[in-house]
């Protein structure tokens, strides 16, 4: 049922870069324990600088959100809802039922099929790799900041001074350096529960569908795959299983690639340009 190599692909060497195989991440919060090993592994391997030590008070999350120096981010979602077939005690929290669930989800760059940042980049610094991921070439990026407002997921950001390599745009590289050597991305490698699974995109999609089915059988009625294939983003290579609505995870419900707005905006621009030219020529010709 599930394709070859879906089990424990996280520890296996591979030749995906050489064979031009599309790969992805499948991140499953129902087995995530919120240990943040992925955040640590990502920071260590990629030598990403710290971005402040701020206590947010938002559950166990002091990372906040993805950014130029945060390429994996474990979310801690607290909801007044039941989790699957969880038994809700009536004795512990007052008289009535008081359902509560705590969900951990490791967020990452989505590596969109149609990527806003890649289309927007005026220097060609952002490219599509052999494995279908979206990569920023740090030595080419001049820090114009246009990718920042073009990402429908708010992932990529410009690194502020005085951090190392300040001024450039940064995001998850999908550990392209590791993948070229046949290694698995650092976050997937260290994930102790395989909540983050790395593998062939088609295998992962099958695996996600199977997992959702299984969760439904176990009473997790609101489990669904978050992979916006029906919008102009045309699907993401790092997709998630989520419980409930995407909004609770700060994920846009219907992300769109900004290039869909180009046609109407350019039409208005050309019309205005010619109207201005015509008006000026008329003003000087007849007055």
């Amino acid at each position: 049922m599930i394709g070859e190599g879906t089990h424990s692909t996280n520890q296996r060497r591979h030749n995906y870069v050489q064979e031009h195989v599309e790969v992805g991440f499948f991140t499953d919060p129902t087995v995530c324990i919120g240990c943040k090993a992925c955040e640590v592994a990502c920071k260590e391997w990629n030598q990403v600088p710290d971005d402040g030590f701020v206590w947010s008070g938002n559950s166990y999350d002091n990372t906040g959100h993805l950014g130029a120096s945060t390429w994996r981010h474990v979310m801690f979602v607290e909801q007044d809802r039941q989790k699957g077939g969880q038994i809700v005690g009536s004795h512990s929290l007052g008289n009535g039922e008081d359902p509560f669930r705590w969900i951990f989800l490791s967020d990452v760059c989505k590596h969109c099929e149609a990527a806003g940042c890649l289309e927007a980049c005026p220097t060609g610094a952002i490219v599509r790799t052999e494995v279908g991921s979206v990569l920023v070439q740090n030595d080419v990026c001049n820090g114009c900041g246009y990718c920042v407002v073009s990402c429908p997921f708010g992932v990529i950001d410009r690194r502020p001074k005085p951090l190392p390599d300040a001024g450039g745009a940064f995001k998850c590289t999908f550990c392209y350096d590791r993948q070229k050597s046949g290694l698995v991305p650092a976050c997937a490698k260290v994930c102790p529960t395989e909540s983050i699974v790395f593998g062939r995109l088609d295998d992962l999609r099958a695996r996600a569908a199977h997992r959702v089915q299984k969760l439904h059988q176990h009473g997790y009625d609101d489990a669904q795959v978050y992979d916006p294939t029906e919008t102009s983003v045309r699907g993401i290579h790092a997709f998630f299983l989520i419980l409930g609505e995407p909004e609770a995870y700060g994920l846009p419900p219907k992300p769109q690639i900004p290039t869909i707005h180009l046609k109407s905006a350019w039409t208005a621009a050309f019309a205005t340009a010619f109207a201005a030219l015509l008006a000026t020529l008329c003003a000087f010709a007849f007055l």
């Binding site: 008070g57 927007a120 001049n142 039409t267 010709a285």
Partner: protein
């Protein structure tokens, strides 16, 4: 429920036993917890909430932005202003050259050339890595408004500066005979080129911010190029008038630009999308846009109607500058507002 008495311990105990909620910690509550734990093996009521708890509900994921607000600083709105003014100056230079207004052509071309030098400087200053600015010309990407803008600005600079040099050499009669004739023709061609690139330079900036993931921007992607182009044209005419060129065509352009801006103010006021563009209609940043639009729309029009041309010109220039800052400010607010993004998509 027992009404609160003046005795603190009793009041707290009553409150704690009633709901155990939002009461100050005290000794009797601890005694009660110990008693419960000893007697029943479980604590039966919700304890005292910790300071700051429960975590206040905020939209999305703890109110974190869903898309990222622009990182651009004040160089960008100033560039929008100067680039728009200079680009449309080249259009005025072309029209003036065709109808033999030599003084206006020269003045307008000076503005265009100065803008062609200042604009790239402002853009380079805003880059995170200014020394890599030349990478902008590595690729030609029609699907990236930033790339197209870089090429438009390059084309504008390559035309406007030589146009000015050729025109000045021709007007000052530095050379004679065939060389002067060549200069005349070169000036004409370069003016034509700078007008073509200039009118796109003034309007592409609307596409630049219109084709993004920021709700308040992309919802107004047709208004933005019209607004930026019109304010560019009006600013160019206004500055030329302030430089002493009080001629009927520039006055007419001033009327035209102010009228269009008035219409755009009405359009923006009526074209409300609710939560997705509330940064414009409900937030303070929207006032920058509206104040700017009042200055370069109705106010400039009325002042011009009363013949107060210098005041009208100053009002228009101020409005053009303020509204550019307003649009960037609105983008920062809108991009940081998760509910706007959700509402725009749902």
């Amino acid at each position: 429920m027992t009404p609160a008495t003046k005795e603190p311990a009793t009041r707290n105990a009553a409150a704690a036993s009633a709901c155990g909620y939002k009461s100050m910690p005290n000794e009797s509550r601890l005694d009660q917890l110990r008693e419960d734990a000893w007697q029943k093996g479980v604590v039966t009521r919700r304890g005292v909430d910790v300071a700051g708890g429960p975590i206040p509900h905020r939209p999305g994921y703890y109110g974190q932005p869903v898309v990222r607000p622009p990182v651009w600083t004040r160089e960008i709105p100033i560039y929008f202003f100067i680039g728009g003014l200079g680009g449309m100056s080249a259009v005025i230079a072309l029209a003036a050259a065709i109808s033999h207004h030599v003084d206006v052509t020269r003045a307008a071309l000076w503005l265009a050339a100065i803008s062609a030098v200042l604009s790239p400087l402002l853009l380079i200053l805003d880059l995170g890595r200014p020394h890599l600015f030349i990478n902008m010309l590595r690729v030609f990407k029609p699907q990236s408004a930033m790339s197209m803008g870089a090429w438009i600005l390059t084309g504008f600079g390559t035309c406007a500066v030589p146009a000015l040099i050729a025109l000045e050499l021709h007007t000052l009669h530095v050379f004679t005979g065939a060389l002067d004739e060549v200069l005349r023709i070169a000036a004409g061609l370069f003016i034509l080129g700078s007008a073509m690139f200039g009118m796109l330079l003034a309007t592409y900036t609307g596409v630049l911010i219109g084709a993004t993931a920021i709700p308040a921007w992309f919802l107004h992607r047709t208004l933005l190029p019209i607004h930026f182009g019109t304010t560019g044209l009006g600013s160019a005419a206004a500055l030329l008038e302030l430089l002493g060129h009080r001629i009927a065509p520039l006055n007419a352009i001033g009327f035209f630009a102010a009228a269009v801006e008035t219409a755009l103010l009405v359009w923006l006021t009526l074209d409300r999308h609710g939560a997705p563009d509330r940064a414009i209609h409900e937030h303070a940043s929207g006032w920058f846009i509206r104040i700017g639009e009042i200055f370069n729309g109705p106010l400039a029009f009325v002042l011009r109607l009363f013949g107060l041309i210098p005041l009208a010109a100053i009002s228009f220039l101020l409005g053009a500058l303020i509204s550019r800052f307003g649009w960037i400010a609105v983008g920062k607010v809108s991009g940081g507002d998760p509910e706007s993004v959700f509402a725009a998509e749902r």
